[in-house]
Structure formats: C-alpha cells, structure tokens
Symmetry: C2
Subunit: 338 residues, 2 copies
C-alpha cells in the first residue's frame, strides 16, 4: 500500500510499504477515508525530534473498519469510525478516570498517512459514527481525531466556561479549535492571539470576541489591559515553546487555569514563578477518546464545523507538499485525500 514515510528532516516520501496485519486479538485494521498532517508531525520534519529510521507518519484518522481481532466487540467491519492518536483499553483505572491518553496500555498511533492502518486497543479507542457519513462531514470528523479533541482538552483544562475570559496562545489548528471549544463551553469572552489575517478570520468564525496581535511580554500586557489588570481566568497554550508557555502562564490571573496542549520541547518552567503566579497548570496528550462521542454528535448534527481548519487538500501522493505548506505556514492544516 501507499504511505507517507519521513526519511530525514524535510524528506517525506510516499512509497509502497507492507500492508498492516492483525497481531493482537484486540487490534483492528481500518481503510483510511482521509488523513492529515499534524503540527506535531512538523517537530521531526524540522529535525527538532530525532529520526532513527524511516518513520511512517500520521496519527489522525477516520475510516472504515476492514478487519478486527478475535476479541474486538465494540466495532465491526464496515463501520465508519473515529479514533484518537493515543490508543486506550478503555477499562483501566486511568481510562475510567477520564485520561485514556495515559492509559496503562496506551500506544501512540502512527502510520495513518496511508491507505490502511493498524489500530491497537480497538475496543477502547474507536468510536463508530451513527452511520456512513456524508462526504462533507469527513473533514470535521477527521479533525475530531486530534486537533479538535486537543483544543477541546486545552479549553477544559483551562476551565473555560460561563463568566470566564479565555485567552488562546497559538493560532494553529489546535489553538483555533480551542477557541471553538471555549465558545461551546460557554465562555463569556474569548481572546485569540494571532497576527495572521486568515487565522484571525477563522478564530472570529469559531467564536473569538477579541484578537490580540502582540506576543511575549507585550502580549501578556495586552491581555492584562483587557482584563482589568488581572489576567484571563483561563488560558490555553497550543504551541509548546518556551515563549508560548511563559506567555500563557503570565497571561493568567492568580487562581486562574492554564491548559497546555502544545507538545513541550526544551521548555523549562521556574518553580518560583509558578508558585507566585498561583495558576493551575494542567495539560499533556489530550484524552481525546473521552470527548469523541460528544464531538461526533456535535458534528453529526452540524452544530460545529471544525474541519474548516483544513485550508489545503492534496492527494496522499502529494504529502510532501502538504508538509511543506504547513512548515511554511502557508496552510493552517493540510488534508490528504486517500
């Protein structure tokens, strides 16, 4: 089958690789309906995360179940399913407490920028849609698999809700969908931090009430100015750099909540600053699976349109261009048609 494989920084090739095969009775194989490139795929693409060997890429997915292992009971061949980038058994104490992305049997998904993919822990990971989706719903469902679920977690971790002012650091797909999530969670005011016209526009569509173009200390000062000098109640961090983490923590008021979902790279936080900031800090790999039933329902009822973050669509064979466009920030998020 055809699959996108990263050979070296900047070198994504679509090539023939072996078909996946069921190896555990809890596995499933799906045929991808669409795939996409994640902001986190850019870390190894940019050489910031090392690559030891050619790496099949992709961890976001929607598709049709083709085959299941002997113990799989919750999904069956022919069903259209959405799953999370972190597979989970759905039965351990950590899953049951709402953190499937830290399941004791977690496997981080890979290899979904391909025609087919093996999904471990199928019963605890895959959620069937109510039926076969119309074609126009597929980008929205695909977004639920990671960027929507991750933005949602960021907003939940930041305790976005009625009466709250929410600031979002990062205008990538996750940040934009954190805006959508904050709006759905009932936030009173949503401040998107962005200096790109097209992203500002989408942020407004998703529910942003204010745009702040300043960054770093100036961005923090602007958030304070908009919040009576106190800072936001809730801040979502959706980048993962030292600057963005500092900006997020410093933009929150004492007692406020920072939800951080950008995968942290070379970030160190000062214990003393955190102590005196008195913020709540919570983040990590988003427990997307716990939100999927609700997110699929919202999408199925056409109440939300998270797939708008896909502003580029190319065939799987042109994955290299999709990476390049995202790397150069020409595209917010690129979909790969399979």
């Amino acid at each position: 089958m055809r699959a996108a494989v990263l050979h070296a920084p900047g070198d994504v090739r679509v090539e023939e690789i072996a078909e996946p095969a069921i190896t555990a009775p809890t596995d499933a194989i799906i045929r991808l309906s669409a795939a996409c490139v994640c902001g986190s795929d850019l870390w190894p693409y940019r050489g910031i995360e090392p690559i030891d060997a050619p790496m099949p890429m992709g961890h976001e997915y929607v598709g049709v179940v083709e085959e299941v292992g002997s113990e799989v009971k919750n999904v069956k061949p022919g069903q259209f399913v959405v799953g999370s980038f972190a597979t989970s058994d759905g039965t351990c104490e950590i899953c049951l407490s709402g953190y499937p992305s830290s399941c004791v049997h977690r496997v981080f998904q890979s290899g979904t920028q391909a025609e087919r993919a093996l999904i471990a822990n199928a019963d605890g990971t895959l959620v069937p849609t109510p039926g076969m989706p119309d074609a126009d719903l597929i980008p929205h469902l695909l977004a639920a698999s990671d960027v929507l679920g991750t933005g949602w977690f960021g907003a939940v971790a930041a305790e976005a809700g009625p009466g709250r002012t929410v600031a979002v650091v990062g205008d990538g797909a996750v940040g934009l969908l954190a805006v959508l999530a904050a709006e759905q969670l009932g936030a009173e005011r949503i401040i998107a931090m962005s200096r790109h016209a097209s992203r500002q526009k989408l942020a407004r569509e998703f529910g942003a009430t204010d745009i702040v173009t300043e960054r770093g200390d100036e961005g923090v000062a602007k958030i304070k100015e908009l919040t009576g000098g106190l800072g936001a109640h809730s801040v979502v961090e959706a980048v993962g750099t030292q600057e963005s983490m500092n900006q997020a923590i410093r933009s929150a008021r004492p007692g406020g909540h920072v939800g951080f979902v950008g995968v942290n790279h070379d970030v160190t936080l000062s214990g003393e600053e955190l102590f005196f900031s008195q913020v709540h800090l919570h983040g990590g790999p988003a427990p997307v699976r716990q939100y999927l039933p609700h997110l699929i329902d919202l999408i199925w009822q056409r109440k939300i349109s998270p797939g708008k973050v896909f502003d580029l669509a190319v065939p799987l064979d042109e994955a290299a261009e999709a990476y390049k466009a995202m790397d150069e920030r020409r595209a917010i998020k690129a979909m790969l048609t399979v």
Copy 2:
C-alpha cells in the same frame, strides 16, 4: 518593644525596636499572644534568601487588637484575632474568587516575632474568634495563621477527598498538617513520607495510614508500589526543593493533582515531563484567609489539634535558640511565648 531581628545568616537577635504605628486608615495593631518560627524563616536564616538590611522576623500571629485605623469596621480593640501571613483587602476580584493571598493589595506580613505588630488590610485579613480563647487553644489558633492553612491549601490543591490516596512529601509542620487536612477532607488513604520517628508518630496521630521512608526515585517507586503501579491521586509537596518537587510530580498518577506549598527555591520543572505526566499542578502562597473561619471553628470545637506541631516553646527573648533548633531539625516547630 522587644522583637526578633535577623542581622545575617544564623544571626537572630531579640532587641528593642520602635513600636508600630497606624499609618493607613485600614491598619490595625495587635498585641501578640504568641509567635512562632516558620520553615520559610529558615530560608534567609540559612542564607538562601539574601538579607539587605536587619530584618524584623515573623509572619504568623494571633493576638488581641489594640488599635484600629478609622476605616476598620470588622474588628475592634479587645478582640482576639487570627490572621494570615498575606494580608488581603477581602473585596477585590481575586479575593472574592478565593485567592486572598494574591489580593491586588496584598502585603506579606512581617515582624510578628515581637510584642506588637502592624497588620495592613485589617478588615480583609483578621478573623475574630468567638471569644477570648482558653490558654490551651492558643497554639492551635496560632498554627491556623500559616502552617495549618498552608497544609490545608496543599491538600485542597491536591484535591484530597473521599476515595483518594494522598501522598505528602515533607514532614515539617506544613506537611504534617497537610496530613491532618487530608484526613479532615475525607481522604481514604494518607501516605506520609518521613524518616523521623517523632514526625512519623505525629503523622499517624493526624491521620496518616502509611509511612514511606524512602526519598527521591526510591520514594516514587514505593508510592507506585502502594498504588497498583499508578501513583497517588493527590500529592502534597511541602518542602520547595528540586528533589521534593520532582518526587511529588512523579508520585502522582496521570490526571492526578499535585498541590505544592513549599516556597520554591532554585526549582526548574521540565515542560516535557509535566506534559507527559499529565498531572494537575497548583500551588503558591496559601489563601489561608479563606479557610480561617472554618479552621477556627474546628479548633474552637476541639475537633483538631494542629498546635501539636509545636514541640518546643521558649520565651521570645530566646528566639535564637528556636531558630537553631528548627534549623538542626531538633524541633518540628518552635513557639515563642510573648
């Protein structure tokens, strides 16, 4: 009046200094009924926090109001009061949200290891007791002013409660009172991390169900072993060093809560580790004022005995010995009789 003044690391002297005087209409002056030495007083005593000039010491206090400024309405001369180490106006948005220790008008209290002390923001800071306390209640009320309130915040920030396993890192007065708080909050299992027999004994009295003597990675491994490999639901950090913060974060399960109340010194946290640990992290200067009415009530009804942490009492004039005993860990916490 007599007061304890730190002149240089290790050099505490009790000497005559000027009487305090009301300077703002929101001030009050109290006559101390007892004072005490805090673990955080040891930071400058040990030279870890710099001293620019002779520093009047002490921020924990109970006493009788002697004089109030013209705008003070909630307390009056003759009342016995308990206050927090962080004064607060009680009316700002941050106070009203439950974080008086980050009040926009906060003043960190100082100079209470003395015969009298000036308390800023008296209306929002001081809580009168139902009447003049019996002498045996004074140590318990004094503990409420900081160490009990701080341990309580640690347990609240760690979301200690029914069904939860709580681990407490640090066996100083704050750690021991976090054990008491966790017990009061209904925690199912409370693991005190201590290698000192006398402190272990007090931890058991306060409600600890398990004692772990190992530290660092071995301590973490022991907590995992006691919690089915997952880690504790709630961890209270009550030291403030790099080792204790790491131990606390690593002892919590994914989705668990770490409440950190040890004043952090030279601590840096890895963003990546925090991300993948998926813990909730919350701490800072404890919002003691918000807990005082409840804590005073528990003490007044003799339901809790937090003053047991005072295992040394000396007259104010012997403050130097009190500091020395705590520095050498001969005393858990020293009371100064005024």
